[in-house]
């Protein structure tokens, strides 16, 4: 009788712990940002939003902006150039975003190179995730 209850409780805790995990990746970027710039004073959702919406156009011609594939409103599902749906970037919509460091790093590397023509700085990455957490 008690077993299923414990299991349910356990699952509930895991599910609850899910979104919070996005926090483990931010301290890492924060440390990197501080190392790069000692005057760094924390991530900003506003800067993240501006970065996200900006028409950078310094990368590949096909992908001028993050919103080429992700939506201007990040709670909406995006779409790759090949027509595949991308789950919303907003954490409220896709709670398992920004958990797997390898995955996050892979996509920052690719998408930043495509859009900006360079790697993103730790501050840009942190701002971006901070912005998505508010969405």
């Amino acid at each position: 009788m008690i077993k299923p209850f414990i299991v349910a409780l356990g699952l509930g805790t895991v599910a609850f712990a899910g979104p919070v995990q996005a926090d483990t990746i931010l301290p890492e970027y924060e440390a990197q940002a501080r190392a790069a710039d000692p005057s760094f004073s924390g991530f900003s959702a506003e800067r993240g939003q501006a970065f996200y919406l900006k028409d950078h156009a310094t990368g590949k011609a096909e992908t001028p902006s993050c919103t080429t594939c992700h939506m201007g409103n990040p709670t909406q599902a995006g779409r790759t150039r090949a027509g595949k749906t991308i789950a919303p970037m907003a954490l409220s919509q896709t709670p398992d975003r920004f958990q797997d460091v390898k995955k996050v790093e892979k996509w920052f590397r690719r998408n930043c190179k495509s859009v900006l023509g360079r790697e993103c700085s730790p501050q840009e990455k942190g701002d971006f995730i901070t912005f998505m957490k508010t969405q």
Partner: protein, 374 residues
Amino acid sequence: MRPLQQSEQSVTSVLIWDLPLRLFHWAMVLVVCVAAVTGYLFEDWWLDVHVWAGYALTALLLFRLIWGFVGSYYSRFNSFPLSIGGVRTHLFDLLRGRSDPKEGHTPVGAWMIVLLLTTLIGLVVSGFVVWGGQENNGPLASVISYGVGKGVEDVHEIFANILMGLIGVHLAGVLVETVIFKHDLIRAMLTGEKQVVPSGKSTAGLKHSVIGIVLFTVIAFGLTYWINSASRANEVAALDQIYKQACGECHMAYHPSLRTQSAWDQLMQGLEDHYGEDASLSDEVAQTVRTYLKDNNALNFDTEAAHKIGRINTPSLRITDTRFWQKKHDDFKDADFRHPAVGSKINCIACHKDAETGRFDDASIKLPKGIKYD
């Protein structure tokens, strides 16, 4: 005209065609119509209906061949009046405007049935070969190569055209007999009865109805079992999970049979500038993917897509730049590919439900609502 009073008096209704034979005949009419309409008139993606008609036809033919030995008297092949002399007399009679009512088949009618059955056997056998070879489908898929299947397609069409011709002659014959000579053959094929002087030869009866239906049921089950068990051996292996992860994030993961090894190698070397995007992978994953693509490149597959698309190199490395691809999709407008359910022409799986298997069966094409293809 002729002094027939004596026998005319004893003309009665005799059961000539046993029930299983009549059911066979009308089932055949239906199934051949379906097969002909889907084969001649419809788009390729009605192929599964066509093939189902072919399977039904196979069961019916097997039944008829056995029934030719164990059916009632007039269903048996040894009752067929096939002698050349008989045919000659019959033809001369017809030319002189005479045709006596016959209990069973007329000589010309009997030959017609032999020709129809032979053609149908050729049609069904060649159909299995094309289905197995060219479409890599059905029970013969693992035995027949693509090339053989492709070659036999012409043979299948020739048989189909011969069949259409024979059916035309058959119908004309029935029309002549019915309208000119007033022998109601169609009614006879419905009720099984003819108005004749009984010769005592016909053995049709309830016993045959029962045996016939049991026999057909056994054949239908046996055939279904064979088709299912033989077809299963022929599934294309599922995509490697690591590959599917690595190359299926921005577009569907293409089946490795769609490019040659050299094309895959080139593509893997240029992932940092992959059609206007950075698609780079970690070295470890890249190595796994490279090996998988090499081991499963187009030369290792015998499907139509592997032959017509996979083995053809294009400077852009694109699947969609092969001539075969362009020819098959040239009726689409750009707007069709921008349809919300498609998004891009490289989203094969939006229209080809089996795209991940590399098969691209005609029968698996399902266009999203709103896209017209003609």
